[in-house]
């Protein structure tokens, strides 16, 4: 009886957390579309959306409504099931990563610790890589099921790009893991609460990780699976209405999650340096806001880069991935290992 009661509590707690986290990520992704347009406009000396609501803040709703009202089109010879599965998979993989991110320090509800993390698994980083690599299937399925040669080509390009940058991404994190000695994101964050942020120990690792994150999210300058000037409109060319919306939306969710991961791994997660709050509930809220602010900052940097740098050529992209980032990541590993050994002596 006792066991059962605890299980119920656990279930409710997690369900509430899942709903909250999903709605927050969807909300942030929605408003990123607005933010992206505003950032683009401001960088081009324009004003951007300002008609729907104050400052154009209702623009995402208007966009969503428009996407819902567009006509559903299926290419005549496409595989309908896979065609629908593609965008769902892209969205799903983008959302699933949020499960292992510690959003803040635990809340205290009637003497009971409620962790603000859906699953504190000790292989958090491995889980992230596992899920993120599934994102390729969303792209491949979309490209394949459209039964369009251009879409297929774009999907193949996107897949090879994502796979090559995942390698460099993984390698860039190994040095960090050598420092922290743990794969659990919670442990990594807590280690940073005592000392300094990981980015100070691993600047090269962070730069590599950041570039790879850009490529993983298919953001400019690495948006070659879109490449509308060579490949019509990339792997989602045949998609219309909300199916296209899902693909585009998944990109923004991805951006949010990878910004959160970057803030967690390299920038102390929910910690604010030299600030210690005694009350656990206040600490949790402030910490959550701190992580949120860091995440929003990274989202801004993503957009900033997008509206500054032109798209890479495909061979340049591959060369950067294989000839620059992977060797650099290996070098970073060697240096970190050597320093750790030297310190131990």
């Amino acid at each position: 009886m006792h066991l059962l009661a605890i299980d119920w509590m656990f279930l409710v707690e997690k369900l509430v957390l899942i709903v909250v986290i999903i709605s927050v990520s969807l909300g942030v992704a929605m408003y990123s579309t607005w933010g992206e347009r505003k950032v683009a406009a401001y960088m081009q000396d324009r004003i951007g959306p300002n008609r729907a609501g104050p400052l154009g803040l209702l623009q995402p709703l208007a966009d969503g409504m428009k996407l819902f009202m567009k006509e559903e089109i299926f290419p005549a010879s496409s595989n309908k099931f896979l065609f629908l599965l593609g965008p769902c998979l892209a969205m799903l993989t983008a959302m699933m990563t949020s499960a292992v991110i510690p959003w803040s320090s635990p809340l205290k509800v009637s003497g009971h610790d409620v962790p603000l993390q859906i699953a504190d698994v000790n292989i958090g980083i491995l889980y992230i890589f596992g899920v993120v690599s599934m994102g390729v299937y969303g792209i491949m399925m979309g490209g394949w099921a459209s039964n369009n040669k251009f879409s297929l080509l774009a999907a193949i390009r996107g897949a090879s790009q994502i796979i090559s940058y995942e390698l460099a991404m993984g390698l860039s994190l190994i040095a960090l893991l050598m420092l922290t000695g743990s794969l659990s994101l919670k442990t990594i964050v807590e280690q940073q609460s005592h000392g300094l942020w990981n980015v100070l120990y691993q600047p090269l690792g962070f730069i590599i990780f950041f570039i790879c994150a850009l490529a993983e999210c298919n953001r400019t300058p690495f948006d070659l699976s879109e490449a509308e000037n060579e490949l019509n409109f990339g792997y989602h060319q045949e998609y219309s209405s909300m199916k296209l919306g899902f693909y585009l939306f998944a990109e923004y969710v991805n951006m949010f999650i990878s910004s959160a991961i970057m803030a967690t791994l390299f920038f102390g997660g929910y910690n604010i340096p030299y600030v210690h709050i005694a009350d656990p509930n206040v600490a949790a809220i402030v910490g959550g806001l701190a992580l949120f602010a860091k995440t929003v900052f990274f989202i801004f940097v993503f957009m900033w880069i997008r509206w500054t740098i032109p798209r890479f050529r495909y061979d340049q992209l591959m060369r950067l991935g294989w000839n620059a980032l992977i060797p650099l990541a290996l070098l970073n590993m060697v240096i970190t290992g050597a320093v750790i050994l030297w310190l131990k002596k």
Binding site: V39, Y42, M43, Q44, D45, R46, I47, N50, I207, W304, I305, W307, T308, I309
Partner: protein, 177 residues
């Protein structure tokens, strides 16, 4: 060879330095430029609320003018229609009846006067041709309509408001000049 203007720039063909080759530094420079634009004054004019001031010779849609007493100036001579290179103007003349002297300035007037705005190229030749100072190109410039027939402007659309009975509308239609 002498350059015609002083705008020509010599192409820098020096090989890239190490700093330029690793590319990151130049990305940072580019990002600094875009960030600076982020805080610059915006060049946008929020159109329906703010309007761009026009030059005095701006040619917008036509108005049919009235004289100081509010009488229509046009005498339906047809010179504007002849001058129009796009053949956008048609009209029908009518004779002024006794008792209508306060409406029309001359004995002949245009009972129907139409300009097809889909044809008009806003050249202003009608304005130049008119001997009676009756047709002017105003500062209104954005005619919009849902149907083609809405673009055939008749007298109700063209005739300027009466300066005596509607002085405010008249001033507005006349613009600053």
């Amino acid at each position: 060879m002498n350059a015609l203007t002083n705008k020509a720039k010599a192409v820098d063909r020096r090989p890239m330095t190490w700093l330029e080759r690793i590319y990151l530094w130049n990305i940072a420079k580019g990002m600094a430029i875009t960030l600076r634009h982020f805080f610059k004054k915006k060049a946008t004019i929020k159109y329906p609320e703010e309007k761009r001031p026009f030059s005095p010779v701006f040619r917008g849609t036509q108005v049919l003018n009235r004289d100081e007493e509010g009488r229509e100036r046009c005498t339906a001579c047809g010179l504007c229609a002849v001058a129009c290179p796009a053949e956008a103007i048609t009209m029908e003349a009518a004779e002024r009846k006794p008792g209508e002297e306060h409406l029309y300035r001359e004995e002949k007037y245009a009972a129907r006067y139409e300009i097809n705005m889909l044809r008009c190229i806003f050249c202003g030749l009608c304005e130049e041709a008119c001997p009676k100072d009756a047709i002017y190109l105003s500062e209104t410039f954005a005619p919009a309509n849902y149907q083609r027939k809405g673009f055939i402007y008749g007298k109700p659309e063209l005739l300027i408001p009466d300066p005596k009975t509607q002085p405010e509308e008249y001033a507005k239609a006349k613009g600053q000049h």
